[in-house]
Amino acid sequence: MELLIFYPIAGLCVALALGVIFNTSPVGSAMCLIGMMLGLAGIFVLLQAHFIAILQIIIYAGAIMVLFMFVIMLLNLKQTASADWVARDKNRFISILTGVLAVGILYKIIDITFLAELNSSAELPDTFGTVATVGEALFTDFVLPFEVASLLLLAAMIGAVVLAKPKLD
């Protein structure tokens, strides 16, 4: 039953991810990315992580992509013919490097998942993935990373204000 839902969602995610890359219009790419993030939220729901799924929608699909969209429209980027695309030489090196690194990470992830034997069906507690459980973990075991992350976000916020301020005055 779970696989019956998983494969269509996963397939859709992969298709939309390819759509992000192959789309020639920025808005089309952004729409595909939003769709893919919603699909990922669906996979989180399948993993009983409702809270993470909702956060995925609020933060990525809701907040970040709206800003992307806003910027794309502000610059009014139109569709460009793919013939105009020329890769610069130094970019070519970087793209090959990142490609190799990405494949390496993927290999590592697959390795870990095989080692973890995720197929063994362990019984989940009823409270798994609820807001209370996640919150408790966040504020007890992971309180230091949590605070560091919030500090980082605050720094980014102040940085944005400082950068924008001279232009406003």
Binding site: L55, A61, V66
Partner: protein, 358 residues
């Protein structure tokens, strides 16, 4: 299992019937009639079937027929796929929000526990917020894909306005969450059985801020800059006609119902009558047997819930026909310089009060 499935299906059909089938068409008429009364006019009264006008109610049917038969126009140079997709993206979130909104309590009918909510999510409150934020795309894409500068201006305004007011909305929700200690909308509703625990009394500031933010999210006057007729033709839906225009129209009305429902659940005692607990009500109708009294109480409480929703719809319409449109900079100032600090103060004060009381 089959019984549960059937019950869920009935609930889904009920919600779709009430929102799309009843409220959306009726509200087009109510809006005209209320504005007419407020401006001392007669209002819609000409559509008739065999001479019967039914105080203009047939205008709903006439409107729907008109929408269906009008030409569906896609402007030259528009992105056909996105232009067609955006009304759907706009209308779906408005209906989808109802998936977690309880419209009644829990009842025992023929030995089945019936919980009057389609999906009782643990993260219900966040679900509402998440889905509401997705509606932005419908409006933004609509303006962009139309290949029209008025539309683009409209969608730029939509995006900036919705982003600004989502912040306030999210922070007000935090206040509600702190008071009730749960994100489950059914739990929040159940706690409000006690009249003095209504969100209105526990979060008075939150109530007004949530109302303002949600009207701004729905882009109705006084926050209707994205579609300001006197400035940018019709904003993001300038290039829409026929049923697609109708869908934007419909999404606005359904969102009014959604706002009313969420306000009722969070701040206005959900499905409860003040000072009357469900147990008292069940006691009154005890002579009907368990199933009979449960069904009767269910009908009463669903009725109470929707009366409150209707009250909030009336409130939104009255605001819409009373206030003039804000200027763009005023909207931004209200959102960022007044509502955002206020909502932060609200969280702080709520936290202190909870700390002191415990």
């Amino acid at each position: 299992m089959w019984v549960d499935l059937a019950i869920t299906l009935v609930k889904i059909l009920f919600i779709i019937g009430v929102t799309v089938g009843f409220f959306a068409p009726i509200l087009t008429w109510v809006e005209r009639k209320q504005s007419a009364i407020m401006q001392d006019r007669i209002g819609a009264n000409r559509a008739d079937i065999l001479g019967f006008t039914a105080i203009g109610l047939f205008h709903c049917i006439a409107d729907a027929l008109k929408m269906f038969t009008k030409e569906d126009f896609i402007p030259e140079g528009a992105n056909k796929i996105l232009h067609t997709l955006s009304p759907i993206i706009a209308v779906v979130p408005a209906i989808l929000t109802f998936a977690v909104v309880p419209f009644g309590g829990q009842y025992t009918i023929f030995d089945n526990e019936v919980n009057l909510v389609i999906s009782d999510l643990d993260v219900g409150l966040l679900f509402v917020f998440a889905i509401a934020s997705l509606a932005t795309y419908g409006y933004v894409i609509a303006g962009w894909s139309s290949n029209n500068n008025w539309s683009l201006l409209g969608s730029m305004r939509t995006a900036s306005q919705m982003i600004s007011y989502e912040v306030t909305m999210g922070l007000t929700i935090v206040g509600v969450l702190m008071v009730y200690g749960s994100m489950k909308l059914t739990t929040i509703g159940a706690i409000q059985e006690d009249f003095f625990k209504w969100g209105l009394f526990l979060q008075p500031l939150g109530f007004f801020m949530f109302l303002a933010a949600s009207i701004a999210e729905n882009k109705r006057i006084p926050f209707d800059n994205p579609e300001a007729e006197s400035e940018i033709v019709a904003g993001y839906f300038t290039e829409y006609s026929g049923l697609k225009f109708g869908m934007f129209f419909m999404s606005e009305f359904i969102e009014m119902v959604t706002i009313g429902a969420i306000m009722t659940i969070l701040f206005f005692g959900a499905w409860h009558i003040p000072f009357l607990t469900t147990t008292t009500l069940l006691g009154w109708f005890d002579f009907l047997g368990t199933t009979g009294s449960n069904i009767l109480v269910m009908l009463i409480q669903v009725g109470v819930f929707f009366s409150k929703v209707v009250f909030f719809i009336w409130l939104q319409m009255t605001i819409r026909w009373t206030l003039p449109r804000f200027r763009y900079d005023q909207i931004m100032k209200l959102g960022w310089k007044i509502l955002l600090p206020l909502s932060l103060v609200n969280i702080l004060v709520t936290g202190i009060v909870i700390l002191v009381l415990n």
